[in-house]
């Protein structure tokens, strides 16, 4: 791994240079919320680091959009012509936090195993992530309990580039060849980092790790053990499920949730098949045309969601739990059954 320094004054010069050849997404204020949005006029450094709130949604829609066409069909005589949309745009996300980066690398593994998903990969291969390490966790953050942050570790985690805010400058840690390309094309803006910068980085990470609020810090291991051994009673799942509004909000804001439904459009002689974000919270998620529904009960759906995220069976299959500790489900859930709330309930 290579380490550089870029002065804060130079950051937007870098963004400007990158934006000449690709789209640059960065945290952007839209009225009261922050979203990842194209930043052609340069990025707001105040939203990039410090205690700035996480964007309301993770950057997963850049690899898995809310909805996308799988193919278009058109009747041609007695035959059909099928065409597949192409998306060859390259993009950089600048200021994605470590939790969201961990989420995307988790999705990578899922979309690679078994049969590879070419729609996901045509976007993912063209996407470079410049992660911002968190010097100060936010009020809903619990990444430290989920190996989701607050800093990415070059030995443990996959990433392209990680920035660390050193007040006047950023430390730039570059791990992948994709990251290297972004730096080499603009090498004048970067200086080699000296050992004192690395020391400062380590002190910042240490301080950050120690400054997580006691809530919603979660006792994940207890929940993992109880779910894995099927020790949580059906009554507890029902109790938790009764608080769930079936709104699907937790799934949509979750960096790790990737279930999708498939829809069909028919406009006379042509149409398309498309996929869209779906959620295992919905009662229709498993309903069959006969009316049989294996997970018709709320408690069973609730159990499903947390079994997928926290059971050892999935942990073993995916290499990590399905939660990166971003805390967005705390904001999204109207029923107060977000990840930390459920983990706390299972501990009792």
């Amino acid at each position: 791994m290579d380490r550089y320094i870029i002065r804060k004054d130079d950051l937007n010069r870098w963004v400007e240079a990158l934006a000449r050849t690709q789209e640059v997404f960065a945290p952007t204020r839209v009225e009261k919320e922050i979203f990842f949005a194209p930043a052609p006029a340069g990025i707001d450094l105040n939203l990039l680091s410090g205690t700035a709130a996480l964007p309301y949604l993770p950057a997963k829609d850049l690899v898995l959009p809310h909805s996308e066409n799988l193919f278009h069909f058109a009747k041609k005589g007695g035959d059909y012509e099928l065409t597949v949309p192409e998306d060859k745009k390259t993009a950089v996300v600048l200021g994605i936090r470590s939790c969201d980066t961990s989420g995307i690398f988790w999705l990578d593994k899922f979309y690679q195993e078994n049969l590879s998903d070419c729609y996901y990969w045509q976007r993912r291969n063209n996407l470079t992530l410049v992660t911002m390490a968190c010097n100060q966790p936010g009020k809903n953050c619990f990444c430290v309990c989920c190996e989701g942050g607050p800093f990415l570790d070059s030995e443990r985690d996959e990433f392209d580039i990680q920035l660390v805010d050193l007040q006047d400058s950023y430390l730039v840690e570059c791990k992948s060849s994709k990251g290297k390309a972004l730096i080499e094309a603009n090498s004048k803006l970067f200086a080699k980092a000296d050992p004192s910068a690395v020391k400062t980085r380590e002190a910042l990470e240490d301080k950050s790790r120690k400054s997580f609020p006691p809530e919603p810090t979660s006792y994940m291991s207890t929940a993992i053990r109880r779910i894995t051994s099927n020790a949580v009673t059906p009554e507890t799942w029902t109790e938790l499920g009764e608080k769930c509004f079936d709104c699907g909000g937790c799934a949509f804001v979750c960096p790790c949730c990737s279930c999708f439904g498939v829809g069909y459009l028919n406009e006379g002689e042509q149409g398309c098949h498309y996929r869209f974000w779906d959620s295992c919270d919905y009662s229709g998620f498993t309903r069959e045309v006969s009316g049989h529904n294996p997970r018709g009960e709320k408690g069973e759906r609730f159990k499903r969601r947390f079994f997928h995220k926290l059971s050892y069976q999935y942990l073993k299959r995916d290499g990590r739990i399905g939660c990166v500790g971003c805390g967005r489900c705390i904001t999204a859930c109207p029923g107060e059954v977000s990840m930390p709330a459920v983990v706390e309930r299972l501990r009792k």
Partner: protein, 275 residues
Amino acid sequence: MSNIYLPNLARIVKTQNETYDTRTFEFELIDPKAKQAFKFKPGQFLEISALGVGEAPFGLASNPNRPETFQVTIRAVGAVTRALHAKKPGDLVGIRGPFGNGFPFDEYKGKSIIFVAGGIGLCPLRSLIEPMLDARSAFKDFLILYGARTPADQVYPGRLKEWEKMPEIRFGMTVDVGNADWKGNVGVVTTLFPKLIQTADNTVVFVCGPPIMIRFAIIELSKLGFKPENIVSTLERYMKCGVGKCGHCAIGHKYVCVDGPVFTYKEIGKLPEKS
């Protein structure tokens, strides 16, 4: 990179009504290369689409030894199946697959074989029965038990009559409710067990049918000494993508579409939720 969501087009070669609401479709892929490359294992399934209307999973019901054309049997119950029923020979559908693990055919060699099928549960089992009959000498005793709600609900009536007459297989058939013409057994399929099942030793039993039938069949088979690892079934879930991505068919940490649909009851018993 191949596209796992893009169907191949297939032409309906012929159709055959099985019951008042169930029809068998024979397909052939129209692209010669795809047709030549098409192979499947017994127990695998296809995602079949009426373009613009929808796509749904269907178990392959024909003999994998003859993959040039292939059959599925479809009951008209929802939008997709009704749209497929409206199609005629010569019409095109979208086909993805075959998907799923299928039955490990060679593992059953040297054993006695029992099939317990209910209603259209016979369809996916037929993709195993037919190649087993092609290699009949590789298996010991061969018993097929088939139950349907009424005589009018029996699928493959012509083939059932042939099986009934074949000296190399033992065959039992029953209906829950008979009619004036029905001279055979009346009662659920488990009522055939005491008469026809001889031993659980070195025997593997394949069970497929409505959930209630499966439940009682398992209870009775267990009483007869069948171990969970020798009871094999195919699980049903709404498999949207068929390739382990959409999440709809997950049970515990298994995806029915890639880890199944064929499971032994030993495997099913380990799942943390009702199957």
